[in-house]
């Protein structure tokens, strides 16, 4: 349990380690994309950590990066094929970011720094914690950006053929609160992420370097 919470708070991949920012900024325009991306990364992370941890004794230092990349890309390809078959809408939205999970620094970083050094149990917990932390941050950013940038909240839309129903809400009427269009643009993503990191650091009480 401690390892899982460590991944969510103390070593949060986006807010503390600042890893995987590319996908964080690009995918969070809409709540649904955010949690599906988080889910995909978590699944890849869990399996890659388990497999890495299982084969760690056979992998020498010289070839570890190619071997881990191979494992991760196999997993990503599996997920990609599944998504393409069952929810093509999400597959199209994810575009280039899905194949990019292969080189997502979170997955490779955890494989190198944790899974290749500890047993299967710990690396599984670590992957779960990091995955949940990543998904939570993605969801918070997407929630903020979609509600204030577009006045809507999409929970189930492109996966509706899987569930059989749609869940989309109009939060505010456009005449009450004008949608802030800049939040859906890339600049809004940077701004939201920056402010979130600021709030997170001030709550956590990290480094207090006063600027001179």
């Amino acid at each position: 349990m401690k390892t899982i919470i460590n991944g969510i708070i103390k070593e949060n991949p986006v807010l503390v380690l600042l890893l995987g920012l590319c996908s964080t900024l690009a995918i969070t325009t809409n709540f649904e994309n955010a949690y599906i991306m988080g889910l995909c990364v978590t699944i890849v992370l869990v399996f890659s950590n388990i497999i890495t941890s299982l084969i760690k004794k056979f992998v020498t230092k010289n070839v570890e990066v190619p071997v881990y990349i191979l494992i991760i890309s196999t997993l990503v390809t599996i997920i990609e094929i599944l998504l393409q078959n069952y929810v093509p809408a999400i597959y199209e939205v994810m575009g280039i970011y899905l194949p990019l999970i292969v080189v997502n620094c979170i997955v490779l970083g955890r494989a190198l720094s944790v899974a290749s050094k500890t047993n299967v149990r710990t690396s599984f917990k670590d992957a779960l914690g990091i995955g949940i932390g990543y998904t939570l941050v993605l969801m918070i950013i997407a929630l903020f950006r979609e509600i204030f940038g577009n006045n809507t909240l999409t929970i189930i839309n492109s996966t509706s053929n899987l569930f059989g129903f749609k869940l989309m809400y109009k939060i505010f009427d456009n005449s009450i609160l004008f949608p802030m269009e800049f939040l859906v643009k890339p600049a809004g993503a940077f701004l939201t992420l920056g402010i979130l990191i600021g709030i997170f650091n001030s709550i956590k009480g990290g480094n207090n370097d006063e600027p001179n």
Partner: protein, 475 residues
């Protein structure tokens, strides 16, 4: 040993921050009164507005001014945890009213009050306090506020009436003179650019549509002379900035055989004068060394012309000042070196002069060629007795549409493909522009374009005209 560096700006003269603020405010009073006259008194005298509309410009400016003050006060109270004497001292010396005042002066008069307050909030919190407060900010806070307002709410402001005040809305059809320059037709003529608003004299004194307080070039020059006399600002930035724009637009104008009115029109319209005098010279975000100031101003001019002609944004002053604000530290480092490195200084000057010449001739010549071939964007893709499928170049690429015809009349239009900016295209849809075109197709030249989405609506209009011409030529 530890050295404590105080906050900038460091001013050599005896002027205290307080005195600078007072002088800046005095120089703005004529501009505020003029905007009251133009947007309040003239519509009231012509019975276009009620007593609230008479004082609305003043209320608008006052709300901007007060809201930045309150936001900054609350921020210092809650986040910086300053209390009593310290708080009073901080607020007194931090120019806290000016971002809101400037922001109110550079926004269109029809901006809803809530959006003005949103802009003030962004100006103070994002533009100023998050950088560490007054003296630490990199970007001009008022322009950061404007940037957020323009990037999120320009469509709403345009729906609300845009730049035109109650008196102008009856007599004029397009938003600001500068939006006319950016039409697909090319560079424009005296009749299309200046005549709808009067003469060049009206541009100089400021009785043209525009933002609340930035239309009058004359009052900006008076304020500039006053501030120069009081030693609040240095002469280099405004003079070099405006003359660079003048020279470049003069070249562009003379390549296209336009008279001296063309560069004058360019420097008097839009926010150029106001921006050059009040925004570009902001003591915190502009260079302090004279070499730095010269290069800064030269590049401001180059960027403004580039943005005005080569992008879809007709204004360009805000974007160029914000862009150059990023380089202030570099320019100052160059200018304050102990032994002035001649080689290093000559290079930026040569680059800027080359840029001035190439950009102006390039732009001038490109307009010369598009003038002749502006109609060739229209293409008929498919044609039968019942419908046309045509394409026309819009703002973001080709617009494809299917026009159903019956008895040589267009009965329906269906847009198949468009790459227009969504917020602009929404304006076209919401104003029922397409229906208007269908209803008035016999006198299509009289249909007003949608203000705020001029290029898209002009493209649609051209599409109609071309199809009608094509149908008539078949008879």
């Amino acid at each position: 040993m530890k050295f404590n560096v105080l906050k900038g700006p460091f001013i050599k003269s005896k002027n205290s921050t307080n005195k600078i603020m007072k002088n800046l405010f005095i120089s703005l009073i004529p501009i505020i009164l003029f905007s009251f006259y133009k947007n309040g008194i003239i519509p009231y005298v012509h019975n276009k507005t009620d007593i609230l509309g008479l004082f609305y410009p003043l209320i608008f400016i006052l709300i901007g001014l007060i809201s930045t003050f309150i936001i900054e006060y609350l921020y210092t109270y809650f986040f910086l945890k300053k209390r009593k004497q310290e708080l009073k001292e901080y607020i007194k010396n931090s120019f806290s009213i000016f971002p809101g005042l400037f922001l109110a002066l550079i926004l269109p008069i029809n901006t809803p009050i809530s959006i003005l307050i949103f802009g003030c909030f962004m100006a103070i919190v994002i533009g100023k306090m998050l950088y560490g407060g007054f003296g630490h900010n990199i970007f001009n806070p008022a322009l950061i506020g404007l940037l957020f307002v323009v990037s999120s709410y320009s469509a709403i402001i345009n729906l609300n009436g845009g730049y035109l005040n109650a008196y102008e809305v009856d007599s004029l059809s397009s938003a600001t003179p500068l939006t006319n320059v950016n039409l697909v037709e090319g560079i424009g003529t005296y009749d299309s650019l200046v005549k709808p608003y009067g003469t060049i004299k009206d541009f100089f004194f400021g009785t043209i549509p525009g933002a609340v307080g930035e239309t009058s070039a004359f009052l900006c020059i008076i304020a500039f002379i006053y501030l120069l006399f009081k030693k609040v600002i240095k002469w280099k930035i405004p003079i070099i900035y405006i003359s660079t724009v003048f020279i470049m637009t003069y070249i562009i104008g003379s390549v296209n055989n336009l008279g001296i009115w063309y560069p004058l029109f360019q420097i008097f319209s839009g926010g150029l004068m106001f921006g050059a005098v009040f925004m570009a010279t902001d003591p915190v975000t502009s260079p302090t060394t004279s070499i730095g100031q010269i290069i800064y101003a030269l590049f401001l001019g180059i960027l403004t012309v580039t943005f005005r002609y080569l992008t879809n944004a007709p204004e360009g002053v805000m974007t160029s000042i914000l862009t150059m604000n990023m380089f202030v530290m570099l320019l100052d480092r160059l200018g304050s070196a102990n032994k002035l490195p001649i080689k290093k200084i000559i290079i930026p000057f040569i680059i800027s002069i080359l840029l001035i010449l190439t950009i102006s001739f390039k732009v001038g010549n490109s307009f010369k060629t598009t003038k002749n071939s502006s109609d060739s964007n229209f293409k008929i893709i498919e044609k039968t007795n019942n419908y046309y499928i045509v394409s026309e170049k819009g703002n973001g690429g080709p617009i494809k549409a299917k026009l159903t015809i019956k008895d040589k009349k267009i009965t329906n239009i269906e847009i198949i493909e468009n790459n227009e900016t969504a917020s602009y295209y929404k304006l076209v849809e919401e104003s029922n522009y397409l229906d208007k075109l269908i209803d008035n197709q016999s006198e299509i030249e009289n249909v007003d374009t949608v203000s705020g989405a001029t290029i898209s609506s002009t493209a649609l209009k051209k599409m109609f005209t071309n199809v009608i011409n094509d149908m008539e030529s078949e008879q």
